[in-house]
Symmetry: C2
Subunit: 132 residues, 2 copies
């Protein structure tokens, strides 16, 4: 069981930007986090789209965290980056031939566990996991 | 975020065997669960190895659940089948160049969420999710 790399990188980018509270270049991020610039471009486009950061273009450009992003929960961030929470085949909505489809007690059990996971992430904000 | 197919299939095989409480052939399982015989052979070898089921070889052979397996928790089953619980890169123990490695509050947050997930699965037994 694993979060996607997109989520992993997004969390680290936000932690670093939230720690620095200044314009940070992609080069600095790539060096600091050990993540390729190519991946960072994709992540920063996404983070700007969901309004977690501002991006400033050009030679003296970079990424800047928005003030309110520090108060976002880890759940808010993970929900914005994970493609799906289809923890098993039958969660996907695609045709599934499983015998248990019509009455499955397991699906309910897995859903409860996933809710417990997300509820735990909802208890912590980005500020809580940022080192000052 | 998703469980491996191995875990998904193992849970369904155990649910069906626990419901039937009789020798079930691989052909019947393949037809009922919509899982290939090839995958079922791998899963049943694993489930026999960890003592959840007995396998009887030969023409009139098949799979039979062990009496005590119904009292196993979903956590016990998931732990036996998931390859890893490395929810992010830094959990894997492999060399990771992350800036936050030495002091990471996120890792603690993700660990707590994973524990909440497993704790929820620990509350339900195979019997609880088996339809009678």
């Amino acid at each position: 069981m694993r979060l996607t790399d997109k989520t992993d990188y997004a969390l680290r980018v936000l932690m670093y930007l939230n720690q620095e509270k200044r314009l940070v270049t992609l080069n600095e991020l790539a060096e600091t986090l050990g993540v390729s610039k190519n991946n960072l471009i994709k992540i920063s486009n996404h983070l700007a789209k969901v309004n977690f950061i501002d991006t400033i273009r050009g030679r003296s450009g970079g990424l800047l965290i928005k003030e309110e992003t520090g108060r976002k929960s880890l759940k808010d961030i993970v929900i914005s980056t994970e493609e799906s929470f289809n923890i098993a085949e039958c969660f996907s909505g695609r045709r599934c031939e499983c015998f248990f489809l019509k009455k499955c007690l397991l699906k309910k059990g897995l859903n409860e566990a996933l809710n417990a996971f997300m509820e735990s992430l909802a208890q912590k904000t980005l500020n809580d996991v940022t080192i000052r």
